[in-house]
């Protein structure tokens, strides 16, 4: 039996990302370990309180020797455009959650709007990663 355990988002700066995900999005740290022998590779994962079975890895965009400069820059640019991929969150109360996150300084690209599948809104993290927060309409 197989399960999804983590999904990754690329971040420019793990400390900046950590502050955003914990203080603004209110997520909890699931792991934070730096491995000196692996070039100070830092494994940093977060997930919402109460959801410990899956986590988001806040992965620093590495330079040499892991990635060459062109690859690193391409990833950084793509992420900044919000084109690296999105993470989808669901909530029972999108308007309430929207107000809470906004009050903490999260910048929304779309306020909550009715769509065929529910009411959803979108925001970006400091590196550009795109998040959708949706309240699903029961059909």
């Amino acid at each position: 039996m197989m399960k999804i355990a983590t999904a990754q988002v690329w971040v420019n700066d793990q400390d900046e990302a950590l502050a955003f995900y914990t203080e603004k999005l209110g997520m909890e740290v699931r792991a934070d370990v730096t491995m000196a022998e692996m070039g100070d590779f830092r494994w940093l994962t977060v997930s919402p309180a109460g959801q410990e079975d899956i986590a988001i890895v806040l992965m620093a965009i590495p330079g040499a020797p892991v990635f060459d400069e062109d690859t690193a820059n391409a990833i950084r640019e793509l992420t900044a455009k919000g084109a690296a991929g999105s993470v989808f969150l669901v909530t029972d109360d999108v308007y309430g959650e929207y107000e809470t996150l906004k009050s903490r300084g999260v910048e929304f690209v779309d306020p909550p709007e009715e769509r065929p599948y529910g009411i959803d809104c979108g925001f970006r993290d400091p590196s550009g990663n795109h998040f959708r927060l949706t309240q699903i309409t029961e059909l």
């Binding site: 039996m1 197989m2 999804i4 890895v57 640019e77 690296a84 991929g85 989808f88 969150l89 669901v90």
Partner: protein, 143 residues
């Protein structure tokens, strides 16, 4: 409060991806809806059989104006290198899962290898997306 529902991978072809994720990886389709009012946008999600609450959305790479041509080219180049996304899957019995997936044609880099965190192997989907599959090392009782 909110929870993580879906994580995304970009795919070159949703039908090709669907076949790979369901027939080769053995995942289940959770949603497959085409929305004509959103330009025939197809929302296609899959997830492991025992994990209906979290899914992977197999997202077709859109063109302009959602993703500009230059970003689209950059994206495809990075996907070919397998560096755009990374999803980590855990298995209760990685050797059994490995044999099962391999027999269905999943291309693995190598058989499961012992690592400090567990026994681990890797594969890519037809669009180049990177996956790790591991059986986590036993944690002593009392945790």
């Amino acid at each position: 409060m909110y929870s993580i529902a879906t994580t995304q991978v970009w795919v070159n072809d949703q039908d090709e991806a669907l076949e790979f994720y369901t027939e080769k990886l053995g995942m289940r389709v959770r949603a497959d809806i085409t929305l004509p009012e959103l330009g025939d946008f197809r929302w296609l999600t899959v997830s492991p059989a025992g994990q209906p609450e979290v899914t992977i959305v197999l997202m077709a790479i859109p063109g302009e104006p959602v993703i500009d041509d230059e970003a689209g080219k950059q994206l495809r180049a990075l996907m070919a290198k397998g560096v755009v996304s990374a999803i980590f899957l855990t298995a209760t019995d990685v050797h059994a899962t490995y044999e099962d997936l391999k027999s269905r044609g999943v291309p693995f880099d190598a058989p499961p290898t012992e690592q400090p965190w567990g026994i681990d192997c890797a594969f890519r989907d037809p669009s180049g997306n990177n996956f790790r599959l591991a059986q986590l090392a036993e944690v002593p009782a009392g945790v």
